[in-house]
């Protein structure tokens, strides 16, 4: 299982047995040889193997300052992706025992030395995450608890949900069961403590029984539901309860260590069954000239929601029970690759799949990032996050420069945390998001920028979004769960109003949303004081608002032009505002179904044909699907 470390200058080679040894060897070489005036070039070449990583492997200048002077490439030996880095551990199928009187099986984990059971939220069968069992979707019928309390003066005692569903939930062990819901652009996951079928409420001839959450979750449900966002009508469902197991699903009681699995076929128990152990695989800090290529990352989880109520808001923010305002929130940084304070970081020809956290997460002060020719699929949180969500550009850690995310394939992203976006980028100067294919996202396909207010600064003095080009992306089935977001969502003013130049552009994108929703699905969405955007020559299908530049008087947009777009839904009347140089012109709006629309407009067809990732990458995606993915499978990527 030897890993080669090549030192370019003298073509020296060092051997390591494991990835952990490899990283240790890199640190040793850096300490010995790397200097500011004498950079060290190292190449790590992985074999056609599966490398198991149960704790993050770290290269950080905090520990080894000389790593700042290493040019490092981590790659696989052959062409295509052939080395796998996984954070998952196998459970033998024969260790599962059939649950008496039930069609599913269970596996009881042994407690560790502290008496705790492993915590994870995903299960992989035959190298692919399978769904968690969940109840049917219902809509909450009552006002939010703070609203009710204000109206009646009485404390609400829990969530009241249809009694039949609650009864079904109570028919099996409740430990580990959760209730999930979203209202507008928020996402909640609360852990259930119990139900009280005797505590009921009647409404419109229907009976609702009380569900009580664990203490902290209960506090959040009762006190932290935003009054301005209506809870009534919000979709709810029960999650991770064996009561709702169906073939091909699982649940895991992370409190009691019991895993329930309902295989599609009995024979599935003979397939590799794995659960994720690691939350992070690779961690890099402060490096420059680092390239990661031709590796497959898989098998991670994020344990946060096992321990705490999850209250998520826009841009990956998470609020704890004491949350008071935007500054109190935080983000979950668990990711296959975590990299921060990087200069010239490239990730190319890699596969990120079956990940319970984020794919690539890069918070602070990153410069010249290249994410190219990668495949992201089945990623629970964001596929790619770069930057912080702070309007404080003057703090160097919040600055991003020259970020390029090009020719990648994303599918089924952030569906487990449906308030996240496939791509999120913070305040950035120099951004290219081009030629990506993005399919099936819980919330938005991409989210860029972070500020709501008008700004007085001159262009360049501070930055929200500058010199961004978002073009030739193919976006399909976005906003599958949450509302009030877009295929491409850009947020915030980018300089004071006396600069009319449109230095940001989104063009030649194709966004299709399958069926229409009642509300809340935007396509090209310039929100909250957004300025200086040129939105042109895009196609949007089945969006409630095809092009939208915020007209709200408290946060109105300026200097945005929307032109030559092809839309099959009308533009909202309030959007054009010539007094603010928000112009909507020369758009083709024709309320036809997608196929008729495309048949009628050749230009829309051309935009669609030119949008998305390369055929070579799509071939790689197909190959990945058709072959059972395992180490050694070589998929030829574009060079």
């Amino acid at each position: 299982m030897a890993i080669k470390i090549n030192r370019s200058a003298k073509s020296e080679q060092f051997a390591a047995v494991s990835l952990k040894d490899t990283f240790a060897e890199i640190c040793r070489l850096a300490k010995d040889m790397a200097r500011p005036d004498n950079r060290l070039a190292l190449g790590v070449v992985l074999n056609d193997e599966v490398y198991q990583v149960y704790e993050p492997l770290t290269l950080s200048v905090d520990e080894v300052p000389e790593l700042a002077y290493v040019d490092l490439t981590i790659t696989a030996r052959g062409d295509g992706v052939c080395s796998t880095v996984t954070g998952a551990r196998t459970i033998p199928g024969k260790a599962f025992a059939k649950v008496e009187g039930k069609p599913y099986y269970k596996y009881q984990f042994a407690p560790d030395e502290n008496g705790a059971y492993p915590k994870f939220r995903e299960l992989m069968v035959n190298k692919e995450y399978i769904p968690v069992a969940h109840g049917e979707r219902m809509h909450y019928q009552f006002a939010s608890p703070p609203e009710e309390k204000a109206a009646t003066g009485e404390e609400v005692r829990g969530a009241y949900l249809p009694i039949e569903l609650v009864r079904e939930l109570a028919s099996e062990p409740i430990s580990g069961a959760e209730c999930r819901y979203h209202h507008c652009c928020t996402w909640r996951m609360f852990r259930i403590k119990g139900v009280d079928l005797n505590d009921t409420r009647e409404l419109n001839g229907e009976t609702f029984a009380r569900v009580e959450f664990l203490e902290e979750d209960q506090y959040c449900f009762l006190n932290k539901t935003k009054a301005r966002l209506p809870l009534r009508g919000s979709p709810f469902y029960f999650f991770n309860s064996p009561a709702f197991l169906t073939p091909g699903t699982f649940t895991y009681d992370y409190m009691g260590g019991t895993l329930y699995y309902y295989p599609l076929r009995e024979s599935d128990l003979t397939l590799p069954i794995e659960y994720p152990v690691a939350e992070q695989l690779f961690v890099f800090k402060g490096l420059s000239n680092l390239t990661v290529e031709k590796l497959r990352f898989m098998g991670t989880t994020c344990r946060y929601a096992c321990d705490y109520p999850y209250m998520g808001g826009q841009a990956s923010r998470v609020f704890d029970r004491n949350h008071k305002g935007d500054k109190d929130c935080f983000r979950i940084e668990k990711s296959a690759i975590f990299a921060t304070a990087m200069n010239r970081f490239t990730v190319k020809n890699c596969v990120f799949e079956q990940l319970g956290g984020n794919g690539i997460f890069m918070p602070d002060n990153n410069v010249a990032v290249r994410i190219r020719d990668n495949i992201f699929q089945n990623v629970g949180m964001t596929a790619v996050t770069v930057g912080n969500f702070s309007a404080d550009w003057l703090d160097p850690k919040n600055r991003l420069f020259d970020i390029r995310i090009e020719n990648n394939y994303f599918e089924h992203i952030c569906c487990d945390y449906a308030i996240l976006s496939a791509i999120t980028v913070g305040t950035v100067d120099g951004l290219s998001i081009c030629h990506n294919t993005i399919k099936e996202t819980g919330y938005m396909a991409m989210h860029i920028g972070w500020t709501w207010t008008t700004v007085p600064y001159a262009l360049g003095e501070k930055v929200n979004i500058r010199d961004a080009e978002i073009a030739y992306n193919y976006i399909e089935n976005y906003m599958m769960i949450a509302e009030d977001g877009g295929a491409i969502y850009v947020l915030g003013a980018n300089c004071n109003h006396d600069n009319p130049r449109r230095f940001n552009s989104m063009h030649d994108n194709y966004a299709t949303a399958g069926t229409m929703r009642i509300w809340g699905r935007y396509a090209y969405y310039m929100d909250a004081t957004s300025t200086n955007w040129d939105c042109r020559h895009n196609v949007t299908i089945n969006a409630n608002h095809p092009v939208f530049s915020q007209p709200c008087p408290w946060a109105c947009s300026w200097h945005n032009h929307m032109h030559e777009n092809y839309c099959n839904t009308p533009v909202r009347a309030k959007v054009p505002a010539p007094d603010r140089d928000v112009m909507v012109y020369n758009n083709v709006i024709d309320t036809l179904p997608e196929d008729e629309f495309l048949a009628k407009y050749e230009e829309a067809r051309k935009i669609r044909a030119a949008a998305g990732c390369s055929e070579v990458l799509l071939d790689a995606v197909r190959a990945l699907r058709e072959n059972i993915p395992h180490a050694g499978a070589a998929f030829v990527f574009p060079s």
Binding site: L459, G460, E461
Partner: protein, 621 residues
């Protein structure tokens, strides 16, 4: 002379009156104390149609009164079409001049001030206009530059040799105050003469040279600080400011002994308005925001540095090893949203408008600059250190201005100079008759490795529709537009800077060194298209030097009447692309006749007709 009737308007609620600008500034400072970040104060100083004399810089600084940062201030004239004059000149009564015995010129002995010093200045105005300083005929310096050994031993080198007859003539008049000027490619040196030794001679190519000793500081500087990469041989040089070389209509001033020599043009006694400048700055603003200077004429400043020191200046009039001077009629530092419009800057011995440190949101519109000895406009600090906040300039727009006869006093000064800048528009300006480059921007020679935005040299610059006439009249190696320095890492190929639709022509060719649109010192990310360049040695130039090679510059669709040169500038491997340029070795008239597009570019270039009419009214009618 008493000034009169200055109004200070405070948002039409309360008016105050002052008699002098100094008084007006004091009232503004007092009123400013009411201002706060939450409650900005709007003030307007309205000057009468009058000539206000300023003998010490008038300063409004947030260092002194922090609340000034929260005042929106306009300094303007009473009525439209009328400009109030702010002058730094004092007058001399012509009757006080006395004839110099045996000479056709006159002299005036200044009295000493209370500290025993004479006034120091380098300009003399007759009837409101600079007259030339007396100077010898030019010679071409015949000696080589100093060797390294000679430089090391430079303390013993007290001067240099000049043609014997020239030195002899110099010796015939008082030498104190005499300067010797050297024009060395893109540099300019001025040293003070101490003495002439006609017995110490040297022969070269059959010609005799006598030794001229410089003041010690000047000799040391000349031998140690002059650019060692530039040969002195073959450079133009002459003596200046010696009464020995007075001709009709010239002056010299011995600032060491306080004697002003003046040779009236008509040979008669000195008469008319005879003035000398007393100040280096007229108005100084620091730390203000929302500042407007409108409809004023600034005149009569000087720069005294050269009276006291040798002057060895490199590119953009920066002193070799000494940084920049801040001698300017209007000096602004660390201002935000500053507008200067409809003003005239004339007969100035320093810069016209100078802005140092961090400036944001600068607007310069509808101004006239004429007879300015340094730069008409100078913005920013000459450093590559963008990381230091004080060196950053953002959002500068210079539109519809007129500049003529600029930088003949200090020829390394470009007519318009801006250092590192993010967001720059220079459009529809007319720049005529300048000693060196018409426009110079950027400050960095090396290849850079930073991502776009993480630092800045020149970003989002747009120079278009300008008219340049007669640039590079004294020095070499500069251009109509001189853009200097790399602007980001080579892997960023977008051309975010542009120069286009500019028209540049010069009377006749120079033997060398006049470039047109010049991207120097690893300059990168420029689009240079649809310009005209007449009579430049190198009309379109993107630096090919291996140590400072340019990248990502596209130069296309330009009309030029001289060939592209030299070899090596075409570099597709660096994405330096020359394409579709129209090279036709014709005269300007023929080029205009032949190409409709050239005519169209010319017609659309330069400042407005209205501003040209204003120039005409001011100077020709």
């Amino acid at each position: 002379m008493a000034s009169r009737g200055i109004l200070i308007n405070r948002t039409t609620v309360k008016n105050e009156k002052a008699n002098t600008i100094k008084e007006a500034f004091e009232i503004v400072k007092t009123m400013a104390k009411e201002a706060s970040p939450q409650k900005r104060l709007k003030l307007e100083i309205v000057l009468d149609q009058y000539r206000y004399l300023v003998y010490e810089p008038l300063v409004l600084s947030a260092d002194e009164v922090p609340e000034l940062a929260y005042v929106d201030l306009t300094v303007t004239s009473l009525a439209d079409g009328v400009r109030s004059i702010i002058s730094g000149c004092d007058w001399i009564d012509g009757a006080r001049f006395e004839a110099v015995e045996g000479q056709p010129y006159y002299k005036y002995q200044f009295p000493k001030d209370e500290s025993g010093r004479y006034p120091r200045f380098r300009e003399f105005l007759v009837d409101r206009e600079h007259i030339p300083m007396a100077r010898s005929e030019e010679m071409i310096y015949p000696f080589s530059r100093l060797t390294e050994e000679e430089r090391e031993d430079a303390k013993n080198l007290k001067g240099t040799f000049f043609p014997f007859e020239m030195a002899k003539k110099l010796k015939e008049a008082p030498i104190s105050g005499t300067e010797c000027h050297f024009f060395v490619e893109w540099e300019w040196y001025a040293c003070h003469v101490k003495s002439v030794d006609l017995k110490n001679t040297k022969e070269l190519n059959g010609q005799r040279y006598a030794f001229v000793e410089f003041l010690k500081e000047d000799a040391d500087a000349f031998h140690n600080k002059s650019n060692k990469n530039l040969s002195l041989r073959g450079r133009r040089t002459y003596f200046c400011n010696s009464p020995a070389f007075l001709t009709p209509g010239t002056f010299s001033y011995d600032y060491k002994r306080g004697i002003l020599y003046y040779y009236p043009k008509d040979g008669g006694r000195p008469r008319g308005a005879l003035e000398f400048p007393c100040v280096e700055n007229l108005l100084v603003f620091k730390g203000l925001s929302n500042l407007t200077v409108d409809k004023l004429i600034f005149t009569g400043t000087t720069s005294t540095y050269l009276c006291d020191h040798p002057y060895l200046s490199g590119q953009a009039n920066n002193l070799r090893g000494g940084g920049m001077l801040t001698d300017a009629a209007v000096l602004m530092t660390d201002v935000r949203h500053a507008t200067v419009r409809n003003c005239v800057f004339e007969q100035l011995g320093g810069n016209g408008l100078q802005m140092t440190d961090r400036n944001i949101g600068v607007r310069l519109e509808g101004c006239i600059f004429k007879n300015v000895e340094m730069s008409a406009v100078r913005i920013g600090n000459p450093t590559w250190n963008w990381q230091e906040e004080k060196n950053r300039t953002y959002d500068v727009r210079v539109e519809n201005n007129y500049m003529e006869h600029i930088a003949y006093g200090y020829p390394t000064a470009p007519a318009f100079y801006i250092t590192q800048v993010d967001g720059f528009d220079f459009c529809h300006n007319t720049v005529r008759d300048v000693a060196y480059s018409a426009v110079s921007l950027g400050w960095n020679w090396d290849v850079v490795y930073y991502a776009l935005g993480s630092r800045v040299n020149v970003r989002d610059a747009h120079l278009a529709y300008n008219r340049f006439e007669d640039h590079m009249m004294l020095l070499q190696d500069g251009g109509a537009i001189y853009a200097l320095g790399a602007n980001c890492h080579h892997d960023y190929e977008k051309r975010f800077n542009s120069m286009h639709d500019n028209y540049s022509s010069s009377r006749g060719m120079r033997d060398r060194g006049r470039y047109g649109y010049y991207m120097d010192g690893s300059a990168s990310n420029w689009d240079c298209y649809h310009n005209v360049m007449i009579n430049a040695n190198y009309p379109l130039f993107s630096q090919p030097h291996p140590h400072a090679a340019s990248w990502h510059n596209h130069i296309y669709d330009n009309y030029i009447n001289t060939p592209l040169a030299p070899e090596g500038i075409l570099a597709p491997e660096r994405d330096v692309i020359y394409s579709d340029n129209h090279i036709d070795l014709l005269s300007e008239e023929e080029l205009l006749a032949k190409y409709e597009e050239v005519k169209a570019i010319k017609a659309a270039s330069g400042c407005s007709r209205e501003l040209l009419r204003a120039v005409d009214v001011l100077y020709n009618t």
